[in-house]
C-alpha cells in the first residue's frame, strides 16, 4: 500500500518541484521588472506626484509580500509542498493580482496626468503581463496536479488497497479538484477584471484620440471629465478645467451675434435642463487677450448610472471652428466686394452652373433676390454664336492654361445684346484638377461706341479728303509737307512724293513765291490763319489761280505741331470776275457814251431843227398869202414836224439825264405835295378835260421832289390823254406794307391789254400813233427809270376798257411817316 503510495508521492513531489520551479522563475522575473519599474518611476516622478509614491508603495508591498511568503515555500515538506506550493502560488497570484489591481486603480484614477500616462500605461501593461503569466502558471499547476492525482489513482489501483487507494485518490483528487475549482473561479474573476481594464483603457484611448473636444458636466455644471482635444481647443490645463463650471466667469462666452452668453444658456446646460440633444451650437470663447475661439458644440444627456450611483450629466463635444468662421467672414467680405463692383462676377461649377452671381450680374440678368437662373444658364446668358465660341474655344483654353481673356456678348434682362470684355478663370483643387471656374465681365458698350465714333471719324475724314473739291495738305511745324490729297496733285501737277518736304513750294508760281512765303511766315509767327491768293505754275506750264488757307494743328500740350490747309482752284472764278469787271467797265463806258451822245445830240439836233422851224415861220410870216395856198400848208407841216421832233429830242435828253443821275441827294418828299405840283403843271388840260383827281393819305418818302412830281404829272397826264369816259377820274392812294409804301394811281381810262403791261414801260414804245394821241412814248419809261433809281418798282394792272392801276412800291427803309 505504502509501497504503492510512495511512487505516487514521488511523482507528485516531482511534479510539485517542477511546478514550483516554474512559478519561481515567473516570480523572479516579475520582481526584477518591478524593481526596475519602481526605480524608474521614482526617479522620474519623484517631484510630481504622490500617486507614484503609492504605486511604488504598491510595488514595495508586492516585494514585501513575496519576501514574507518565500521562507514558507522552502519550509514545506515535499509532499505538501506540491499542494502548498500550488496554494502558495494561488495566493501569491491572487494577492499579486489584487495588489496590482489596486495600483492600477490608483493609476487609473489619475489616468490623464500629462507626463504620467505613458508610465501608467507601462505599469498597466506590466501588470497585465504579470497577470497573464500568473494565469499560465496556475493552469500549469492544475495540469500537473491532475497528472499527479492520475498517478496516485493508478498507484492505488495497483496496490489493491482499494480503500487506501480510494482515499488517497479521493484526497488527492479532491484536493486537486477543490483547488482546480477554486482556481477556475478566481481565474474567471481575474479575467473579467482584466477585460474591464482593457475596455476602459481602450475607451480612454479612443476618447483621447478624438479630434473633437469632449467634456462631461455634472448637473452642477462642474466639469468631471474631458479629453486631450478639449484641453487643446480650450487652451486650459487639467487643473484649470477641474476648477471650472459652466458658471465660471472666466469663459467670457458669446453668441455668434456677439452677445454675452450666460452659463445657463450654454448648450450643455440647456440639454441638462431640457434633456434635448443640441447640435452645432456656435459658442465663442474669449481668451484673456481678447482673441475669440469659436466652437460648434453638440451636447447630449448622460442618464444617471444606478450601478455607480452617479447623478445625471451631459457630455458635450465641440470642434474649433474659428478658422472656418474666419474663412466664412472673409468669404462674406469678398462677396460684398464682388457686389460692389459694376463688373459681372460669377463663380461656376466646371459644367458652367453658377454657384455665385454678384449683384451687378443679377441686375444685368434681371434676377431678384434669391432667384436663381436655373439650368442651361450659359445658353440664356450668351447668344448662340458667342456661346459656341465660349464652349469650343474659351472654356477649353481656360482649362488648358488657367485663364482666357476676350470679348463676348451677354443678353440682358431686356433681351438687349451687351458687348462685354471677359476674363475666364479656372480654379484647381488640391489634386490639381479643375474644381470650379469664375468669370468677370465688363460692359464695353461705351468703349465700343467711342471706337465706332473714332472709326467713323477717320472714315469721314478720309472720305472728305478724297472727295473734297479742294487740295488738302498737311505740313509739320517747319512747313515740311507730309500729306497732300489727290486733288492737290491734280492742281499742281506734282506727285505726293514731289510735294513732300519742301517740294510743295515748287508748285507756287515764281512771281508769287516771295509774297506767299512772307504771308506764311507772318501767319506762323502770329498764330493767325494763313490766307493767300496766288498762282500755281504746273510743270506743263499751265497757270492756276488758287486761294490757299491754312491753320495750325496743336499737340496735347498746346504747342504747334504742324499746319493743315486747303487750296481751292479759283481760276474760273478769277477769269469770270475779271471778265465781269471788264464788262462792267465797258458797260459803264458805253452808258456814258450813250448818255453823252443823247445829251450832245439833242442839243446839236435842236439847232438845225430851230433853223428849219424858225426860218420857215419867218418865211410864212413874210410871204403868207403871197404864194399859193399849198405853200402855206407846207410851211405849216414843216413847222409841226420840227415841233414834234423837238419833243422827241427833249424827252430823249431827259431820259438820258436820268440815267446819268447816279447819286441824287435823297430828301424827304411829301408825295401829296408832289401830286399838287403835278396838278398845277397840268392845270390847263385838267380844266379842258374836266378831270377829277382825288388823292389822300400819301406818305413822305425819300427821293427827289422834282422827279416824283414828274411821275405824277406823267401818270395823271396819261389818264387824261387816254380817256374813255367823258369824265376822267383819277384816284391816288397809298398803303403801308412791311418796309415799303404801296402807291396806286387808278384811272377810268381805256386800259391796257395784258400783253402790253410790260411793253408800255419801254422807251419810245407807244400803243397809239401820234395822230391819235400826242406824246413821244417816253413818259412811262421815265417813270420806271425814276422809281427804279430810288430802289422801288412800278407795274400796271389793267383790263382793257376798264381803266388802269399803276402800282408803285417805294422802299421805306428810313422809316419816314406819312
Amino acid at each position: 500500500m505504502l509501497a504503492l503510495a510512495i511512487p505516487a508521492f514521488v511523482i507528485a513531489i516531482a511534479v510539485a518541484i517542477r511546478t514550483t520551479a516554474a512559478v519561481n522563475q515567473g516570480k523572479k522575473e516579475m520582481a526584477q521588472t518591478f524593481t526596475i519599474n519602481a526605480a524608474k518611476a521614482r526617479l522620474s516622478r519623484a517631484l510630481t506626484d504622490g500617486t507614484y509614491v503609492a504605486v511604488d508603495g504598491a510595488n514595495l508591498d508586492l516585494a514585501a509580500y513575496r519576501e514574507r511568503w518565500d521562507p514558507a515555500w522552502r519550509g514545506v515538506s515535499l509532499a505538501w509542498a506540491a499542494l502548498r506550493g500550488s496554494l502558495e502560488t494561488d495566493f501569491a497570484t491572487r494577492g499579486f493580482a489584487s495588489e496590482t489591481q489596486r495600483g492600477l486603480d490608483k493609476v487609473q484614477s489619475l489616468g490623464s496626468r500629462p507626463r504620467g500616462s505613458l508610465d501608467s500605461l507601462h505599469v498597466l501593461w506590466l501588470a497585465i503581463l504579470a497577470t497573464h503569466r500568473s494565469m499560465a502558471a496556475i493552469g500549469e499547476v492544475q495540469e500537473r496536479r491532475f497528472q499527479a492525482s492520475q498517478a496516485a489513482t493508478d498507484a492505488a489501483t495497483r496496490v489493491r488497497s482499494r480503500m487506501i487507494a480510494f482515499l488517497l485518490t479521493m484526497s488527492v483528487s479532491g484536493a486537486a479538484l477543490w483547488f482546480a475549482f477554486a482556481s477556475r473561479g478566481r481565474k474567471r474573476r481575474l479575467e473579467s477584471q482584466a477585460r474591464l481594464i482593457r475596455e476602459r483603457t481602450r475607451y480612454r484611448s479612443v476618447i483621447d484620440a478624438l479630434g473633437e473636444g469632449l467634456v462631461v458636466r455634472a448637473a452642477s455644471g462642474r466639469l468631471t471629465e474631458w479629453n486631450e482635444s478639449a484641453k487643446r481647443i480650450l487652451g486650459l490645463t487639467d487643473d484649470q478645467l477641474a476648477g471650472r463650471s459652466s458658471y465660471s466667469p472666466e469663459w467670457r462666452s458669446i453668441t455668434r451675434g456677439g452677445a454675452p452668453l450666460k452659463g445657463e444658456d450654454l448648450p450643455a446646460m440647456i440639454t441638462l435642463r431640457t434633456g434635448e440633444a443640441l447640435t452645432r451650437v456656435p459658442v465663442g470663447i474669449s481668451s484673456e487677450d481678447g482673441a475669440i475661439t469659436w466652437l460648434e458644440v453638440n451636447s447630449r444627456l448622460l442618464p444617471p448610472d444606478t450601478s455607480t450611483n452617479s447623478e445625471a450629466a451631459t457630455v458635450a463635444t465641440f470642434v474649433d471652428v474659428t478658422e472656418r468662421y474666419r474663412l466664412d467672414d472673409a468669404l462674406k467680405r469678398q462677396a460684398a466686394i464682388f457686389d460692389s463692383t459694376p463688373d459681372f462676377v460669377s463663380i461656376m461649377t466646371t459644367s458652367g452652373e453658377p454657384v455665385f452671381l454678384n449683384r451687378s450680374a443679377r441686375t444685368l440678368l434681371g434676377l431678384g433676390d434669391g432667384e436663381t437662373i436655373g439650368e442651361r444658364w450659359l445658353s440664356r446668358v450668351h447668344p448662340a454664336r458667342e456661346l459656341a465660341f465660349l464652349m469650343e474655344h474659351a472654356i477649353p483654353q481656360a482649362h488648358a492654361v488657367g485663364s482666357w481673356r476676350g470679348e463676348t456678348v451677354v443678353i440682358d434682362a431686356n433681351g438687349a445684346h451687351v458687348p462685354m470684355s471677359q476674363v475666364l478663370l479656372t480654379h484647381c483643387g488640391v489634386g490639381g484638377a479643375v474644381e470650379s471656374m469664375s468669370t468677370v465681365m465688363r460692359d464695353i458698350s461705351h468703349e465700343r461706341g467711342a471706337m465706332r465714333q473714332q472709326a467713323g471719324l477717320v472714315e469721314r475724314w478720309s472720305a472728305l479728303v478724297t472727295l473734297a473739291p479742294v487740295g488738302i495738305f498737311e505740313t509739320d511745324k517747319a512747313g515740311h509737307c507730309d500729306f497732300v490729297n489727290a486733288r492737290w496733285c491734280d492742281l499742281t501737277g506734282l506727285s505726293p512724293a514731289q510735294a513732300s518736304g519742301t517740294g510743295w513750294s515748287g508748285a507756287v508760281h515764281p512771281d508769287d513765291r516771295a509774297r506767299v512765303f512772307a504771308d506764311w511766315d507772318l501767319a506762323a509767327s502770329t498764330g493767325a490763319e494763313f490766307r493767300s491768293e496766288h498762282r500755281f505754275l504746273r510743270p506743263d506750264g499751265e497757270c492756276r489761280w488758287v486761294v490757299g488757307s491754312a491753320s495750325a494743328l496743336f499737340d496735347p500740350e498746346g504747342r504747334v505741331r504742324g499746319y493743315i490747309g486747303t487750296v481751292a482752284d479759283v481760276s474760273e472764278l478769277k477769269r469770270a470776275s475779271e471778265q465781269m469787271a471788264l464788262q462792267t467797265l465797258e458797260l459803264a463806258r458805253s452808258n456814258d457814251d450813250l448818255d453823252r451822245f443823247a445829251s450832245v445830240a439833242s442839243h446839236d439836233l435842236q439847232e438845225p431843227l430851230r433853223i428849219i422851224s424858225g426860218y420857215t415861220q419867218l418865211l410864212a410870216r413874210r410871204y403868207r398869202g403871197k404864194l399859193d395856198g399849198d405853200a402855206d400848208t407846207f410851211m405849216q407841216h414843216t413847222v409841226d414836224g420840227a415841233a414834234r421832233m423837238q419833243r422827241l429830242i427833249k424827252d430823249l435828253l431827259h431820259f438820258a439825264r436820268l440815267s446819268q443821275t447816279k447819286s441824287t441827294a435823297r430828301e424827304p418828299v411829301a408825295l401829296g405835295e408832289s401830286v399838287a405840283g403835278a396838278l398845277e403843271d397840268l392845270a390847263l388840260i385838267i380844266n379842258e378835260s374836266g378831270a377829277s383827281v382825288v388823292y389822300a393819305g400819301l406818305p413822305t418818302v425819300y427821293g427827289d421832289a422834282i422827279l416824283y412830281q414828274q411821275i405824277f404829272r406823267n401818270l395823271i397826264g396819261n389818264a387824261i390823254k387816254y380817256r374813255l369816259a367823258a369824265r376822267v377820274e383819277v384816284h391816288i392812294s397809298a398803303t403801308r406794307e412791311v418796309g415799303a409804301w404801296h402807291v396806286v394811281v387808278r384811272d377810268n381810262g381805256m386800259g391796257i391789254a395784258p400783253e402790253y403791261h410790260e411793253i408800255v414801260f419801254a422807251p419810245f414804245r407807244r400803243l397809239h400813233s401820234a395822230s391819235q394821241a400826242a406824246g413821244t412814248g417816253m413818259g412811262l419809261a421815265i417813270c420806271r427809270r425814276i422809281i427804279e433809281h430810288f430802289g422801288g418798282r412800278i407795274w400796271v394792272e389793267s383790263v382793257e376798257g376798264q381803266g388802269s392801276s399803276f402800282h408803285i412800291g417805294l422802299p421805306d427803309s428810313k422809316g419816314v411817316h406819312a
Binding site: 439847232e607 430851230r610 424858225g614 415861220q617 419867218l618 423837238q646 424827252d651 422834282i706
Partner: protein, 162 residues
C-alpha cells in the same frame, strides 16, 4: 406903247451865236416901246470885251440888259453869267438867259447863278418873240431896274408836258 422921253437910249447886249435867234431877239426888242439900242456879240469872249469896253468894243456903252444864250462857242453862257455876277462893276446888269433847254434842272441852275430871267427858245417864232419882248420890257422899265429885284412870279413859257 408910247415914248417916255428918256434923255439917253437904253442899250441891250445880245450874246448869241445863232443867227436866227439873234435876229428874232433883235426883232422882238425892236417892237419895244422903250426902243432900246441892240448890240449883238457872237461868243462869250467878245461879250466880255464889250462889257469891259475893250478891243473893237472900246467905245461900247454899258448895257442896261444882257440877253445871254447858254450854248456859246469857247466860253459858254454859264461861265459868262458866273463871271459877270462875280464882277463888282457888272453884277448889277440884269441877265436874261435864253436856252433851248426847258428842263427844270437847267432853269434852276441858271437862277442859282443869279440870272434875272430865263426864256426858253420856243420853236414858235411868235411865242419866242413875245417872251423876249415881255421879259426885256420888264427889266428895262426904269422903276423895276432901279429896284433890281428878281420877279418871283415870273411865268416861264414851257413846252407842254409829254
Amino acid at each position: 406903247m408910247h415914248s417916255h422921253g428918256y434923255s439917253a437910249r437904253l442899250h441891250v447886249l445880245i450874246v448869241e451865236n445863232d443867227e436866227l435867234d439873234s435876229r428874232l431877239a433883235s426883232d422882238a426888242l425892236g417892237r419895244s416901246a422903250l426902243a432900246p439900242y441892240v448890240h449883238v456879240v457872237r461868243d462869250g469872249e467878245e461879250a466880255f470885251r464889250f462889257l469891259r469896253a475893250e478891243g473893237e468894243h472900246s467905245n461900247a456903252p454899258r448895257p442896261a440888259l444882257v440877253l445871254l444864250d447858254l450854248n456859246l462857242p469857247r466860253i459858254d453862257g454859264r461861265s459868262v453869267l458866273a463871271a459877270m455876277k462875280n464882277d463888282e462893276s457888272l453884277r448889277a446888269i440884269p441877265v436874261i438867259v435864253i436856252s433851248t433847254s426847258s428842263s427844270d434842272r437847267d432853269v434852276a441852275d441858271v437862277y442859282r447863278l443869279q440870272a434875272s430871267s430865263y426864256v426858253c427858245k420856243s420853236l414858235d417864232v411868235e411865242e419866242f418873240e413875245q417872251a423876249v419882248l415881255q421879259v426885256a420890257d420888264l427889266w428895262l422899265s426904269p422903276a423895276r431896274a432901279v429896284g433890281g429885284a428878281t420877279p418871283a412870279t415870273n411865268k416861264l413859257p414851257k413846252a407842254p408836258a409829254s
